[in-house]
């Protein structure tokens, strides 16, 4: 098991190098001069431009810039944003907010998705099943920003339950609405997946055997049907995490959440190489760790899976 984890972590190294290189290259290749853009309408004196270029190594060739950046990362220095703030500081401020948002979204989509999927699967072909199917189809077809605006208007303005944008410090209560919006992206998939999985498990021989032992339906459903049905759903979670991060960028923009997504979006617009690359590196790292955790969880759920040393 320890060997397996170590191997997975070692595999992460080339993945990280590859992604940082790609991102760095793309930021470098973006049109426009970031220093000029920084000053907006004003034209700064050439000496200032030169000084700034030198400070951010923008006068060096691309590959040199990349290695300087990599070297700094190993020293724990993620660089400085154009506003003069260290990138690590920005990360510390924004990540906790986004993690809370993502955790809430995962919670909503799992609880709602799995319960609705379970009931649909157990009552296949019934009214509940049919309505769940229609609702999930509607949610799949709606672009996330349309859904976000509708929710903002309905819950925020019409009912007045939530604030339409997130206040300073991002209180959890303000994050509920963006989290629900974020959760709907994968909600429909989880409902479908759980439903199909439950139907499949319900028809298995061991479920009939469980009943023949004299177990009640109330015990068979959670112990013998749900537990087995969760295995594919958990696998899906790992893939889903990427979707969640993409969704966070849009959702945080709309709800003005001071999180990673919004900061990253602004950094991309401004062409801030170090900020973009550092943020993406951290995201890739988290993505890899989440995938590893899900694979380990998979082995916990299904004892037939044991990772070779």
């Amino acid at each position: 098991m320890a060997g397996y984890i170590l191997r997975r972590l070692l595999q992460a190294i080339p993945v990280l190098l590859g992604t940082t290189f790609l991102i760095y290259f793309m930021v470098f290749a973006m049109p426009g001069d970031p220093i000029v853009a920084l000053f907006g309408d004003k034209t700064p004196p050439p000496q200032v431009i030169e000084a700034l270029r030198e400070r951010y190594h923008l006068d060096q060739p691309f590959i040199v810039q990349y290695f300087i950046f990599l070297g700094n990362i190993f020293k724990g220095d993620l660089g400085v944003s154009f506003s003069g703030q260290p990138v690590s500081e920005i990360l510390m401020a924004t990540f906790p907010v986004t993690l809370r948002l993502a955790a809430m979204a995962v919670f909503f989509e799992m609880v709602a998705g799995i319960s609705i999927g379970l009931i649909s699967g157990l009552r296949k072909g019934g009214i509940f099943d049919a309505s769940a199917l229609v609702v999930s189809l509607i949610l799949i077809s709606l672009p996330i920003f349309v859904l976000a605006f509708v929710m903002q208007w309905f819950f925020g303005i019409y009912l007045g339950w939530f604030r339409t944008t997130v206040g300073p410090g991002a209180p959890t209560q303000d994050l509920i609405l963006p989290a629900i919006v974020l959760a709907t992206i994968s909600f429909a998939q989880i409902v479908r997946l759980t439903r199909a999985s439950v139907i499949d498990t319900d028809g298995q021989d061991f479920v009939r055997t469980a009943a023949s032992k004299g177990l009640t339906r109330g015990r068979i459903v959670p112990v013998h049907i749900l537990r087995n049905s969760l295995i594919p759903v958990v696998t899906y979670l790992a893939v889903d995490f990427g979707t969640l991060m993409v969704g966070a960028t849009v959702t945080e923009g709309i709800f003005n959440v001071p999180g990673v997504g919004r900061t990253l979006y602004q950094a991309i617009i401004r062409g801030e190489g170090p900020t973009v690359v550092s943020f993406v590196t951290i995201m890739v790292l988290i993505y890899l760790v989440v995938n590893l955790l899900v694979d380990l969880l998979y082995a916990v759920l299904d004892p037939r899976i044991r990772y070779a040393k």
């Binding site: 021989d205 061991f206 004299g214 177990l215 013998h224 087995n228 299904d302 037939r304």
Partner: protein, 596 residues
């Protein structure tokens, strides 16, 4: 009992026999009256069980026998009200100790299941939940039936139950998961679970048909002594008449959802009344091989029962006559040159982490032209690997295979392609070996097409000819595999194998998945085709009973080695190795007096 169905006369005969035994005073433990079970399908209600009557007294054992689709498992599932899908009881009564189970509520049924009726399912591989430990699943059954309370007590009882079912090191193995158990071990767990709450009635639905013969025998012996010891009444469901007769006092023969005959096992076996039962008795390979054994050689003085059975069955399934003709032909024929020579054939598989595994270990044999050699062994003995190497679907690690004078190892490319046309396989699963998207005509003519034989018109002619040879109507040419029965599909697979007029046919468990009557027909067909076309067969099977009626020579394989090789008669009459003796003893029906 005054229903007017066909089944009723026979069935009430049966219960008369039973009530005599019971002195008329005792109430039966289980009484099924005119049971009807239907399934809702797109074509309306389909009756799977139609007017079944069964009476079972305390302490008795009764077997329901029938082929697939006869409604025997459906009857069992109806008793515990666990019918699959849209199945439901549409009429009749199921009385357990006087209580009508068809009218019981869901809650009442929960107390019946496990506590009053234990159930041992068919397939040990799919009937244990793979994500829970063995201990968990046994303890669950004990807790649900209130047999013990408190963690320690429950665990103690679980270990007791497993030990009783023959799992010696139960306390250690409780924490293991189903995939860490062999099929036989899992079946013991399932038997343990079925008996966990000491039910009055145990329903065992084909409890051993997925297991090797020797394992089957051990498990059934254990089940029998255990139920006798506990005084459990046993309702046993099987497709094997020999097995049923050996293991149960009473027999109920089902056919197409009806009971066609019932009564004491020995009576039915010795004097079957219904034509269907007579055909079953004549066709069961286990019984046929026993009969040959009992009479030495078949003489004119064969028992009246067999003659009668054969007369009813027609010559198409008279296995004894087939076997007899074979033995005579073998004795009369001069020694034929070998079609296949295998020398020191070895196959080693590399397994990651645990070194090498020798699946086939220095196997040598010869098959004379025009004869049949049976390769017999249990699962994992390496017999299928030998077949794969012979067909060159798998390369040998070392050793030599010579087919028609050519060493297989040196044959490549075009030559191999040509050699393949002379050597054709038929596999076990008639459902898996035909492409569902191609019609029968395409399936049979595909080898001709691949080997560029003839024009499309002549290929069509050949397909008709082949359909005639395997006794299928020519109209099947445009049909698809899913429209055919298992037996018909296996005939198609045989026709496809014969398309290129091969000299050698490798039959890998080719009749194992078929019902007995169909099995008998296919065996007969294979014998006829061999006589007609001079084919050489390598017949791979785990079932010695079948071997007796088809093979000239037998090689018994165990753990990759051939432990015994001789003519069929020698192997059956005078087995040398203990393993062969075990296999022979495991053929069901050993203890049955056939009255010959």
């Amino acid at each position: 009992m005054s229903q007017s169905s066909n089944a009723t006369n026979q069935a009430s005969n049966g219960s008369n026999v039973q009530s005599e035994r019971a002195d008329g005073a005792e109430r039966p433990l289980l009484e099924i009256k005119d049971l009807q079970v239907g399934f809702n399908t797109q074509d309306g209600l389909v009756k799977a069980v139609d007017g079944v009557n069964i009476t079972l007294y305390r302490g008795q054992s009764l077997a329901i026998v029938g082929e697939s689709g006869s409604g025997k498992s459906t009857t069992a599932h109806a008793i515990i009200n666990l019918l699959p899908g849209t199945g439901h009881i549409s009429g009749g009564q199921i009385l357990l100790d006087g209580q009508d189970l068809t009218k019981a509520s869901a809650r009442e049924m929960q107390t019946v299941r496990g506590r009053k009726i234990g159930f041992v399912p068919q397939d040990p591989m799919s009937n244990l939940n793979p994500v829970w430990s063995i201990g968990f699943q046994v303890e669950e059954a004990i807790k649900a039936n209130g047999i013990a309370t408190g963690r320690k007590e429950v665990k103690k009882r679980a270990i007791e139950v497993l030990k009783q079912a023959g799992l010696g090191d139960a306390d250690r193995r409780m924490r293991q998961f189903p995939h860490q158990f062999s099929g036989g071990m899992r079946q013991r767990v399932l038997i343990g679970m079925g008996l966990a709450a000491n039910p009055q009635l145990l329903i065992a639905d084909e409890p051993t048909s997925a297991l090797d013969v020797t394992v089957q025998r051990v498990i059934l012996d254990h089940l029998e002594s255990l139920t006798r010891e506990l005084g459990t009444t046993l309702l046993f469901i099987t497709h094997d008449l020999g097995l049923a007769a050996e293991r149960a006092e009473q027999l109920v023969v089902m056919y197409k959802g009806r009971v066609v005959e019932s009564g004491p096992s020995v009576d039915i076996l010795q004097n079957p009344q219904h034509p269907y039962t007579q055909r079953l008795v004549a066709a069961a390979p286990s019984l046929a091989s026993r009969r040959i054994q009992a009479t030495g050689s078949i003489s004119a003085a064969e028992s009246s029962m067999t003659e009668g059975a054969a007369a009813v069955a027609g010559d198409s399934i008279d296995l004894i006559a087939t076997a007899e003709a074979r033995a005579e032909a073998l004795a009369a024929a001069p020694a034929a040159p070998p079609a296949i020579v295998v020398e020191d054939l070895t196959k080693v598989f590399k397994i990651r982490g645990s070194g090498d595994f020798t699946a086939v270990d220095k196997v040598s044999f010869q098959i004379p032209k025009g004869s049949t050699m049976a390769l017999v062994g249990e699962s994992g003995s390496g017999k299928s690997t030998v077949a794969k190497m012979l067909l060159k679907l798998e390369d040998a690690t070392s050793g030599k295979i010579v087919v028609g004078g050519k060493d297989l190892a040196s044959v490549t490319g075009k030559e191999l392609f040509n050699l393949r046309s002379r050597m054709q396989p038929v596999f076990q699963d008639p459902y898996g070996s035909l492409n569902p998207l191609r019609n029968i005509g395409n399936t049979i003519s595909e080898p001709l097409f691949t080997h560029k034989v003839g024009t499309s018109a002549s290929r069509r002619e050949r397909v008709y000819e082949l359909l005639d040879q395997v006794s299928l109507p020519r109209t099947l040419i445009s049909r698809y595999p899913n429209e055919l029965s298992g037996g018909q599909r296996q005939r198609i697979a045989i026709a496809r194998a014969l398309a290129l007029k091969p000299e050698i046919v490798v039959l890998d468990e080719a009749v194992s998945a078929l019902d007995v009557l169909v099995q008998a027909q296919i065996l007969r067909l294979l014998a006829d085709l061999q006589a007609e076309l001079g084919l050489t067969y390598l017949f791979i099977t785990h079932d010695l009973a079948v071997v007796r009626v088809i093979a000239d020579h037998v090689c018994v394989m165990q753990k990759g080695r051939i432990v015994e090789a001789a003519t069929t008669d020698e192997v059956f009459d005078n087995p040398q190795e203990q393993y062969t003796k075990d296999l022979l003893a495991a053929i069901p029906g050993a203890g049955i007096e056939l009255g010959a």
